[in-house]
């Protein structure tokens, strides 16, 4: 991989600098620990597996927003649309492909769901290229509302407000059947999440990922250095849609159901909240956020549903007012401060 | 005559950029001051700093003995800072008359007197701000600042981009305001020749600091010196041989 510049040896400083850059994509202890614990949950919390699958799926949805918003700075209130498209596409594939393998295979379903979402994402990505944050918010919201409306009106296909019944995916890769305890669903969701996470991790640490952060920081300058800004935005928006679609497909497959609830406004808003909770632009923000969000919902929602909604709103208000950057933002701020103190000492 | 406006060691800029450093000056009651310098030397920034629109990095500003350093722009305006912005910035969805009445405070300058000063505005009093010619906009900007009944008038390039006839008309009005009405004023201008006769003192800025300060007539009389101070003649260092 370093075959280009063999003619002259880089200076020691350049080698050191390169090590610093490459060091940013090395796996840290905390990162490894996160995934080990995630895997260990299978044994630690055997009664909570379906909740954990749900968290993994929401985490994937939040991750998709992180790619689009946290890295490329595209403000969106409509990611739920792609989640819904993915869910219905995969759900329909499982329903009508039942028995006729390979169409009902969940893994194929993931690609169908993700693919459809990516297609819609690609088409609508051109709508978010121009305009301010506010325009983007409203356009993405508008697209989500249109999808919502389509789902509700095409009753013959989607089942309308009753939801899509009869989603019966076959065994994963023809081997592992979905079981009552959600064991297969958990492992399946976690593996998909992990694979897509690895991919996202590679993307954001790459020159392409860096260019997205640059676009977020200063579109004017990125154009001045000859960067195809629109192409990059279309690409990441499409990738983000694919991720959301896969999350939707996972949801439809593991719950064997799809409903207009999947495309509703609150789905987009919730996922955005999870990301903001955890911290946008950190990759782990969405994952952490979905864990906290879903746990809080479980605990508070058990008291009364209103209670949960109230505290969700209050947390959001407090977050915006006091804790910019979510939990991970807070942590990295603390780390920087400690480091600076250490340097000063 | 007492000091009306005092700047003490002001440093200011926009965002991270620092444009001005170590500016100290004072304006006496009834005095007019020309603020000269090529573009980019910080003249407008200095005006905006007095108005309260820049990021101050040090120093203090006092108006009539009262410290206004910490006041917001609107409070400074009410305390007596009358501002004629460089871009004129007429409120475009207000009529000519509304542009004046919206900011009016009680005092000797009334709508009638302002219209008396600028008869063209009287004719166009019902027109919207965005329907005016450049010269009319400039007159309105001056009239609007007078409506505040300020203690000091800050004029930021009032003659820029105007046709010669309009320039003469405006200069006549400024002469009446400054020389006859004894309004204290700071006038930023690139057209030094036109503005020096109106003022008693002149300050030349260079790189955000005061490069020269002296009586206006003296500067007006010495064209070569003026040109060299403004940096438009000969190579710096090789000049001022006179």
């Amino acid at each position: 991989m370093t075959d280009i510049a063999l003619s002259h040896r880089p200076s020691p400083e350049a080698q050191k600098a390169r090590a610093v850059l490459l060091g940013r994509s090395r796996w840290g202890v905390a990162e490894i620990a996160f995934w080990v614990i995630a895997a260990a949950c299978y044994f630690l919390l055997p009664t909570k597996l379906s909740l954990l699958s749900e968290i993994a799926i929401l985490g994937l949805l939040a991750l998709s927003i992180d790619l689009v918003l946290g890295y490329a700075g595209i403000v969106t209130l409509g990611q739920g649309a792609f989640f819904g498209v993915g869910a219905y596409a995969a759900g329909l594939a499982a329903k009508y492909g039942a028995g006729s393998a390979p169409w009902s295979d969940p893994v194929i379903g993931l690609f169908i769901g993700g693919g459809f979402a990516a297609l819609i994402g690609f088409i609508t990505s051109f709508l978010v290229l121009r305009g301010s944050d506010l325009t983007r918010l409203m356009v993405t919201l508008g697209v989500a509302l249109i999808v919502d409306e389509i789902v509700n009106q095409t009753k013959w296909l989607t089942g309308g407000s009753d939801g899509l019944q009869g989603v019966l995916p076959s065994a994963v890769l023809g081997i592992w059947d979905f079981d009552l305890y959600g064991k297969t669903a958990f492992i399946y969701s976690m593996v998909v999440l992990f694979v897509l996470f690895l991919l996202a991790r590679a993307i954001v640490k790459s020159p392409f990922g860096l260019s997205l952060q640059a676009i977020k920081g200063n579109p004017l300058r990125t154009r001045a250095i000859g960067m195809p800004v629109n192409g990059r935005l279309v690409a990441i928006y499409t990738i983000g849609s694919f991720y959301a679609g896969v999350a939707g497909a996972l949801a439809a497959q593991t719950t064997q159901f799809a409903s207009p609830d999947y495309v509703a406004f609150h789905r987009s808003a919730d996922a955005l909240l999870m990301l903001v909770f955890g911290g946008a632009g950190h990759l782990y923000g969405g994952l952490l956020g979905s864990i906290i969000f879903r746990t809080m919902q479980d605990v508070l929602g058990n008291i009364t549903p209103q209670y949960w909604q109230f505290w969700l709103g209050a947390t959001l208000v407090a977050l915006v007012l006091f804790v910019r950057g979510g939990i991970l933002g807070l942590l990295s701020g603390l780390r920087d401060r400690m480091k600076r103190k250490g340097d000063a000492a | 005559m007492s000091d009306l406006l005092t700047l003490d060691n002001i440093a200011a800029g926009y965002g991270e950029a620092q444009v001005l450093s170590g500016i100290s000056l004072n304006l006496r009651e009834g005095e007019a001051l020309a603020l000269l310098g090529r573009n980019g030397t910080g003249k407008t920034t200095l005006i905006n700093t007095i108005v309260g629109l820049t990021r101050r990095r040090g120093g203090a500003i006092a108006l009539a003995g009262k410290d206004i350093t910490k006041l917001r722009p609107d409070q400074r305006a009410l305390a007596g800072i009358g501002w004629v912005p460089q871009e004129r910035n007429i409120f475009r969805s207000l009529t000519v008359e509304e542009n004046i009445t919206a900011v009016m405070t009680p005092g000797p300058w009334t709508v009638e007197r302002i219209f008396g000063m600028f008869p063209r505005l009287q004719e166009r009093r019902r027109n919207m701000g965005n329907q005016l010619s450049g010269g009319e906009q400039q007159m309105l900007a001056v009239g609007r600042a007078l409506a505040l009944n300020p203690r000091v008038l800050l004029l930021d390039e009032p003659l820029e981009g105007l046709a010669p006839i309009i320039v003469d008309e405006l200069l006549a009005a400024l002469r009446r305001i400054i020389v006859e009405e004894r309004m204290s004023a700071i006038i930023v201008e690139q057209s030094a020749r036109k503005i020096l006769p109106l003022t008693e003192r002149a300050i030349i800025l260079d790189r955000g600091a005061i490069a020269h300060e002296g009586p206006s007539p003296e500067l007006a009389a010495d064209a070569v010196r003026l040109a060299s101070l403004l940096g438009v003649a000969g190579k710096p260092g090789a000049e001022v041989a006179h």
Binding site: L77, I146, Y307 | L78, F91, A102
Partner: protein, 286 residues
């Protein structure tokens, strides 16, 4: 046909009163307040409570709703909103969605999730015949009240000193400050009046639209459409947009129920796209 037009106009006028505060504050401070509908909901539920629990006459509820929502608006503006003016639109959206959730939860807790119905006084029910069309008395009432409000707003905006100072602040806030106009205070007052109008709209709306805790979310979309189609620089723009939206919505639901919502959202997206600098940019500069 005429009946639908009439209903649509009444609905549109109501939408305008509900949304106008949002249009003005967005234009003035570039602040996006998705929780605007919460103030309308406050007005609506106050009316419902006053009428059903305390037996207050409907006509008295209207000013009460205005005052209540305005006071609530002023309080929140002074304590919370003002910290958000220099933050990003995303922050403003998250913050105001948070407020929406809180308001929905509180209403749900206090009143339950059911739709609330108000028994209008007798003199406001029934129908009139006009040119062969059957016209609801209450809708006529709404049109009259809203027309008066629109005229009143227009007069305040164009004829008073407050109005000219407000327009000056919208035109160029920075220079307005430099001219001694306390933009912050003007904004607080405008915010309060806008919230109050939303509250009044909510009170008036109790006879036309159903109230349940999802109101702020449901109507948020309508407000955004009014803004995106009508712009924020005048109040005639949003007014026309609201009337159009009202008529289109009522007619759409009547004639083509299947695609009504679809069309409205599509129009909103199209309008947003066809104005490339973003809808809120004010045309080509000078």
């Amino acid at each position: 046909m005429l009946t639908i037009l009439f209903d649509g106009v009444a609905y549109g006028m109501l939408l305008f009163i509900l949304a106008v505060g949002l249009c003005v504050t967005l234009g003035l401070m570039n602040f996006i307040n998705l929780a605007h509908g919460a103030f309308a909901m406050a007005g609506g539920y106050l009316t419902i409570t006053l009428m059903q629990q305390a037996g207050v006459p409907f006509l008295l509820c209207l000013p009460a709703a205005f005052i209540f929502a305005a006071a609530l608006g002023l309080l929140l503006e002074r304590t919370l909103y003002r910290h958000l003016y220099d933050k990003t639109h995303l922050d403003q959206v998250l913050f105001s969605i948070g407020l929406v959730f809180m308001s929905m939860a509180m209403i749900d807790y206090a009143y339950g999730a059911n739709q609330q119905i108000v028994n209008l006084p007798d003199y406001l029910t029934g129908r009139l015949n006009f040119l062969g069309a059957s016209i609801g008395v209450y809708r006529l009432f709404v049109i009259v009240i809203c027309s008066l409000l629109v005229i009143g707003l227009q007069l305040i905006l164009t004829q008073t000193r407050f109005g000219s100072r407000l327009r000056a602040a919208v035109d160029d806030g920075r220079v307005a400050r430099g001219m001694g106009i306390d933009v912050t205070r003007i904004f607080a007052v405008t915010f309060a009046v806008g919230s109050g109008l939303a509250g009044l709209g909510g009170a008036l709306g109790t006879g036309i639209i159903s109230f349940d805790p999802t109101f702020p979310l449901k109507y948020m979309i309508y407000f955004l459409i009014v803004i995106s189609v009508g712009g924020t620089t005048t109040i005639t723009g949003p007014f026309l947009a609201a009337i159009l939206l009202g008529v289109a919505d009522v007619a759409g639901k009547y004639y083509v129920p299947a695609v009504g919502g679809f069309i409205i959202y599509t129009i909103m997206v199209l309008v947003l796209i066809l104005r490339p600098q973003g809808l809120f940019a004010r045309g080509p500069a000078r």
